[in-house]
């Protein structure tokens, strides 16, 4: 709820606006001062990568950041003409080339910082955008893999990302609001939505929340999500994050809003429901029965991840009655060698698996594979043989680890994994009652969550029958007739926006 705090701050700011302005602006030049060469060079004092070229013949000064611009473009479009032109031709050239004139110092400063070249001529300041930073090429996503479907994923450059989306939504209704976050970094944020589909109140609310953010810098869209969601202390992500432009397209047309942040290869969409996190683009590319089966499998996987080890601990510690006799004897035999109580035994193995996972994630891919082998064979096998764990526990821990990787969303998968530890500890103290208690508490928490003021667990609670066609199941396309209730859109009918 950071935004609530900032809301108050920005309100009080507005009230005594004049006051703060006077105090703050003692050192730096006033923002609406006339843009002059001296002022600009003073602002960018000690910036080694700032290039300043003076053409004495034509009395032109050119200022730009060499690290931000496209050398080729600058050379061809600005530097070459300037050096070739005569004094008298400059005026014409500036007009013809559509080089904008800056009216304030702030304007020219911001433009230089976002990759424009500033041209000072005849006591006037002009700027021309030659932005061209080094960027990574479009590549496959590392965290969200699609088997059947588009493989291209977002990169760190926001214009490339926008082009990926524009290419998919060729509509004038796709609107993009440009905002800036980060008091120091001034990072670009684009808020995308489809006009007439997305709820305008929600767009307004989201825009307001982004505008009032007061932090030095926003590093990534996931951080942005945490700054604008309603429960930053919750375990669960309240906005859906994705690297795939395909997913963004589907979110946009269903009436949701998408946020892009420059330098981040991840887009977030809002509002989000819990069930979005078990969905993958693959579901939609398969035939609906197959898509549904896979989706149900993921729902089961959540339960396995959450409860398998916990149930093992509970049963071994308290409820020997529930096991079939054959299994019980095998279990008891393998447990007879283990010196720890079941809870410690389980936590030991779970932490080992988590260590392996974290080590595998941090290491380069090639070494990561070795870690997998070391973990899987050496620790699994040796721990049982050394009598540190029972082999049934290894199965439980491994299955729940595998099940946790089934979830398509990395953030959600991590959240679920943490909840699992809570359940294991409760199971160790209170048995199955503890597991139920834990699940109860987590359920209460999830039910109370909201995403952009809409219920997080929609359509299960509050119950909307017609939305079920795209939650646990991936219904046939003929049945998907309406946009999700959560988007609060007035344009509920799908397929009704022909132009």
């Amino acid at each position: 709820m950071y935004y609530k705090k900032w809301e108050k701050v920005s309100q009080s700011d507005n009230e005594n606006n004049d006051h703060t302005n006077d105090e703050a602006q003692t050192d730096t030049p006033p923002e609406n001062e006339e843009p002059s060469l001296e002022a600009v060079t003073k602002i960018f004092d000690q910036c080694a990568d700032l290039d300043h070229k003076t053409y004495s013949e034509t009395e032109i000064d050119v200022i730009y950041f060499s690290s931000l611009i496209d050398d080729q473009k600058l050379e061809n479009e600005i530097l070459k003409p300037i050096s070739e032109l005569q004094h008298s031709e400059i005026e014409n050239w500036i007009n013809r080339k559509d080089i904008s004139e800056a009216t304030t110092l702030k304007e020219i400063k911001d433009e230089v910082l976002s990759g424009s070249v500033a041209i000072f001529y005849n006591d006037k300041a002009y700027y021309y955008n030659v932005y061209g930073p080094e960027i990574r090429g479009i590549d496959k996503s590392e965290t969200e893999t699609v088997i059947v479907g588009a493989h291209d994923a977002f990169v760190e450059d926001i214009t490339t990302n926008l082009s990926l989306i524009r290419r998919r939504v060729k509509s004038d209704k796709l609107k993009a609001i440009k905002l800036k976050v980060g008091e120091i970094t001034k990072t670009d944020v684009y808020l995308l939505y489809i006009d007439g589909v997305a709820d305008s109140e929600m767009v307004k609310e989201l825009k307001k929340r982004i505008e009032i953010i007061e932090v030095d810098s926003v590093y990534d869209t996931n951080m942005l999500a945490q700054l604008i969601d309603e429960a930053p202390d919750s375990l669960f992500p309240q906005y859906y994050n994705t690297e795939l432009p395909d997913v963004v397209r589907s979110k946009l047309v269903s009436g949701k809003m998408v946020m892009l942040l420059d330098t981040s290869p991840i887009a977030i969409s809002a509002p989000a429901s819990f069930f979005e996190f078990i969905q993958s683009p693959d579901d939609y590319n398969q035939r609906w029965l197959i898509g549904t089966s896979i989706r149900l499998l993921r729902a089961i996987a959540i339960f396995i991840t959450l409860t398998f080890t916990a149930v093992y601990v509970a049963v071994i510690t308290f409820h020997y009655e529930v096991l079939p006799e054959d299994l019980l004897i095998t279990l008891a035999e393998s447990r007879a060698r283990v010196p720890f109580p079941p809870l410690i035994e389980a936590l030991l193995m779970e932490i080992t698996i988590e260590l392996l996972r974290e080590a595998g994630a941090r290491l380069p891919t090639k070494i990561g594979q070795t870690i997998g082998i070391v973990g899987g064979i050496v620790i699994g096998q040796a721990a049982v043989e050394a009598g540190l764990t029972s082999n049934v526990l290894i199965i439980a821990v491994a299955s729940s680890a595998i099940a946790s990787f089934v979830l398509p969303n990395y953030n959600m998968s991590n959240s679920i994994r943490i909840v699992r530890f809570l359940l294991i500890i409760l199971a160790g103290y209170l048995g199955v009652f503890g597991i139920i208690l834990g699940i109860g508490l987590v359920s209460i928490h999830i039910v109370s969550l909201t995403s952009l003021k809409t219920p997080y667990l929609i359509p299960v609670t509050p119950f909307y029958w017609r939305d079920w066609v795209d939650t646990f199941i991936r219904g046939p396309y003929w049945a998907m007739k309406r946009r999700p209730t959560q988007t609060k859109t007035s344009n509920t009918e799908l397929n009704k926006m022909k132009q």
């Binding site: 020997y320 006799e325 019980l328 004897i329 008891a332 007879a336 283990v338 109580p341 103290y429 508490l441």
Partner: protein
């Protein structure tokens, strides 16, 4: 604030529940079979009237035997368990109890006192099998059956399988208790005995109330089950000499029941018809006649029906003498009479022993095998 509430809620749930008793599997001796036997020794009054034997699977990997059998003499079941607990390093628990064996001598004087603890203990499931041992339950559990390791499991599977072919009944604690408390029906239980290095199913035990009053041998048990309800499956082998048979000796026929339906018609409380419709096929025949002949088939049907009727009447007569209504005829009488009438009627002691129970059996051959 809400988070604080959550923490408080979790903490209170810990504090309020306290710590439940931990039962970690490797520390437990889960009793799988329990045997009860009447102590017939002279000092039974002082030492205890019950010989209690429990069998549990062994879980120490280095142990020589695959099971642990403990036995003691006590006054009651739970007292016996405390005595047994002193003999083992594992905590005795009954959550995995699957079979309760009652020796015949105990069953004959009544088992409900002993059964009390089985019903009272919430960890014992109602699927527990009640079995009567023709002989000593202690000897049966202690005995070694080299080809069948884990005796208790052997007994459990044996009864389970035999009940499917209807040689015997599969009486769970629930069924026993229900039949015991219900008006107009008495419980039946399977009977087993100890053979040489094996355990044998020895037919059915019929109770009157809580006492075992008669046993039925496995051959007749099949016919008893036909009277007991609607069943599917089961074989009967009879020596049968047909009229036109030329072969003179070794004439046997095995009849596989496909279906048997029982109908009880109450004419008056003292006159009851039991109609049994049996359908089946012949699976073994050592004679020479062509079974596809209609006449031969009719004759077989008739003879088989007569045989079943004869056995049934004999069984019913004995049951009437022992005042054991295990077929549940009383239920039909109760259902066909008014509440007051049934209340006034002393069915089991007065009317049932004198009642005229006619058994009509109708056998139908549905096949005689795939080879002529």
């Amino acid at each position: 604030m809400r988070n604080l509430l959550l923490v408080v809620l979790i903490l209170t749930s810990f504090l309020l529940t306290g710590c439940p008793e931990k039962k970690i599997v490797e520390d437990l001796g889960f009793i799988h079979s329990v045997g009860y036997e009447l102590n017939e020794a002279d000092d039974a009054e002082e030492e205890g009237v019950l010989i209690l034997t429990v069998a549990m699977p062994q879980i120490t990997p280095t142990a020589e035997k695959d099971r642990e059998v403990l036995t003691t003499i006590a006054h009651t079941s739970k007292e016996g368990r405390m005595k047994l607990a002193r003999k083992t390093d594992r905590a005795l628990v009954s959550g995995q109890l699957r079979t309760a064996l009652f020796s015949r001598n105990l069953a004959e004087i009544g088992i409900f006192d002993t059964m009390d603890t089985l019903l009272r203990d919430h960890t014992i499931g109602l699927n527990l099998k009640i079995i009567v041992v023709n002989g000593s339950s202690k000897d049966l559990l202690i005995g070694d059956y080299p080809e069948h390791p884990r005796t208790s499991r052997y007994i459990f599977e044996l009864i389970d399988k035999e009940a499917k072919t209807l040689i015997t009944a599969d009486t769970s604690l629930h069924k026993f208790k229900r039949a015991f408390h219900d008006d107009g029906i008495d419980p039946i239980v399977p009977v087993i005995k100890q053979g040489i290095e094996e355990i044998i199913v020895d037919g059915l035990g019929l109770f009157s109330g809580e006492r075992l009053v008669m046993t039925i041998n496995p051959v007749d048990a099949r016919i008893f089950m036909m009277l007991h309800g609607d069943y599917v499956g089961g074989d009967m082998t009879k020596e049968m000499i047909l009229d036109d048979e030329e072969k003179e000796s070794y004439l046997y026929m095995t009849f596989t029941t496909l279906k048997s339906k029982r109908k009880v018609k109450v004419n008056s409380p003292s006159e009851i018809d039991v109609n049994v419709e049996v359908e089946g096929s012949i699976s073994e025949y050592t004679g020479l006649l062509d079974l596809s002949d209609d006449e031969v088939q009719k004759e077989i049907e008739k003879k088989l029906a007569a045989n079943i009727e004869e056995v049934s009447e004999r069984l019913i007569k004995e049951m009437q003498q022992k005042q054991a209504d295990n077929i549940g005829i009383g239920q039909f009488v109760r259902n066909s009479s008014k509440y007051e009438e049934w209340q006034e009627m002393d069915w089991k002691e007065e009317i049932y022993p004198e009642a005229k129970i006619n058994v009509n059996v109708n056998v139908k051959l549905r096949g005689f095998g795939s080879v002529k």
